[in-house]
Amino acid sequence: MKQSRLVEIGCDGVSPVRMGGNEGLVFIGGPCAIESLDHSVYMAEEIGTICRDIGIGFIFKSCFDKDCRSSPDSFHGLGLEKGLDILKKIRSHVKVPVVSDFSDPSWAKEVGTVCDLIQVPAYLCRQTSVLRAAAKTKKPVHLKKGQFMSPWNMKNSVRKLEGFGCDSIVLTDRGTFFGYNSLVNDMTSFPIMASTGYPVCFDATHSIQQPTSMGNISGGQREFIPYLVRAATACGINALFMEVHDDPPNALSDSNTVLDLKYLRHILEEANTIHNTYLRMKQEHGLIHVK
C-alpha cells in the first residue's frame, strides 16, 4: 500500500493526533449521537483511558444531528448549538480532539470552530456544496466513502476537496451496498483509496450494518466486527473508526451496530498489535508491489 502523507488532527488546547505514514494506529470513536453532556464525557473518558493504556491516538466522535435516520420518529440529535457546546466541553475537559459531521453546508462554519476534524457523511461524499463547505473550515476532513461508491471514484471527491484548498484528508470505508439491505467489505478499497496519497480508515461498526433491514431501522451483525477489524488492520489502514456505547440496546442511535464498550479494549489491543506488526514488516522488508 502506498505510503500516505501525514495528517495532524487537533490544536489549541488538545494534543494533536498524527495519522498516516509510519505513525501508530489512531482510533476515532464514540457514541453515534451525542445523548447528553454527562454521557459524552463518560464515554470520552473511558475510551480515552483505554487508548492511552494501549498507546494509540484517540479522536472522540459523536454527532449533533442524525439526518439520515430511516425513520422520522427516531432520535435525530440534540441539534447544532447544544451538540457543539457539548463537544467544546469534551475538548476542554477530556483534552482530546473531536470530530462530528454535518449535513447542511451552512452548519460547516460553526462545526469548524469547535471540531478538530470535519466529517463528511458517506451519503454526501459527492456533494460539491458539502465538500466546499468542509474545505472552507480549513480543518482536516474525514471523508467517508459512500456505500454506493467505488473506491477508485473517491478520487473525484478528493480532487474536489483539493480544488477547494483542502490537503488534509482521511478516507474511510464503511462498507459497500451488496444487493438490498446488505453491505460487503472489500479490503482492496484500502490500497485503492491509499493511492490518493491520504491516510485510510476502516469504519468497523457501520460496515456490519444491514441498512434498513428491520423495516424502518437498520440491523447489524456485531459478531463480525473483530474479524473485519483484524482484516483491515492487516491491510495497513492508518486509523480505525467505531461507534461505541456503554449500553447498546438503549443507545439513541444505531443501537444495532454500536460496539459495547466492554469489548473495546480487546479489539483495540488486537488491532494495535496487528498494526505494529505491519509497520515492523514494512520497515524490515519494504513495501511490495505485485504486478
Binding site: S150, W152, N153, K155, N156, I192
Partner: protein, 128 residues
C-alpha cells in the same frame, strides 16, 4: 518546418490528468496522441493509442477503475521529440525510423511548442 502549434490542436494535458481525461480529449478531437506537460509547459510524457492498447491488453482492472488512474502512470516518460529547427525531411525520417505518426516538438529546455503530425509534415515537404 511548420508543425501544429499548441493553439491549433488540443493535444495537451497536465500531468495531473487522469486516463479518462486523455481518452475524452483524444476521442473528441480525433487524436492518436496527447502530450503530458508540467505546469510550466515542459513535456513530461506522451500517451498514445498504442499505450492505450497495451494498457487494456495488460491490465485486469475494471475499465471504470482504469479511467480513474493517473495518466502519468501509463505515459511514456521519455518520448521521442523533435527540435523546432529540424526540417520536415528530418522529422519524416525520424517518424519512419521509429514507426510513429506524431512527434512532439520541443524547445531546448523541453518546453512543448507543438505537435508534428505526419500529414502536415508531408504537406510541408510537398509545398513548393
Amino acid at each position: 518546418m511548420r508543425f501544429l502549434q499548441l493553439s491549433e490542436t488540443p493535444h495537451v494535458l497536465l500531468e495531473t490528468a487522469l486516463v479518462g481525461d486523455a481518452l475524452r480529449e483524444m476521442n473528441r478531437h480525433g487524436l492518436g496522441i496527447c502530450c503530458v506537460v508540467s505546469n510550466d509547459m515542459k513535456l513530461v510524457g506522451c500517451f498514445t493509442d498504442g499505450d492505450l492498447r497495451r494498457l487494456i491488453s495488460n491490465q485486469q482492472k475494471p475499465l471504470a477503475a482504469l479511467i480513474m488512474d493517473d495518466l502519468c502512470d501509463y505515459s511514456t516518460t521519455d518520448p521521442l521529440c523533435a527540435g523546432e529547427e529540424e526540417s520536415g525531411e528530418q522529422i519524416l525520417a525520424l517518424m519512419a525510423e521509429h514507426r510513429v505518426s506524431d512527434i512532439p516538438v520541443v524547445a531546448n529546455d523541453k518546453t512543448l511548442l507543438g505537435l508534428a503530425n505526419i500529414h502536415n509534415v508531408i504537406q510541408d515537404i510537398r509545398r513548393p
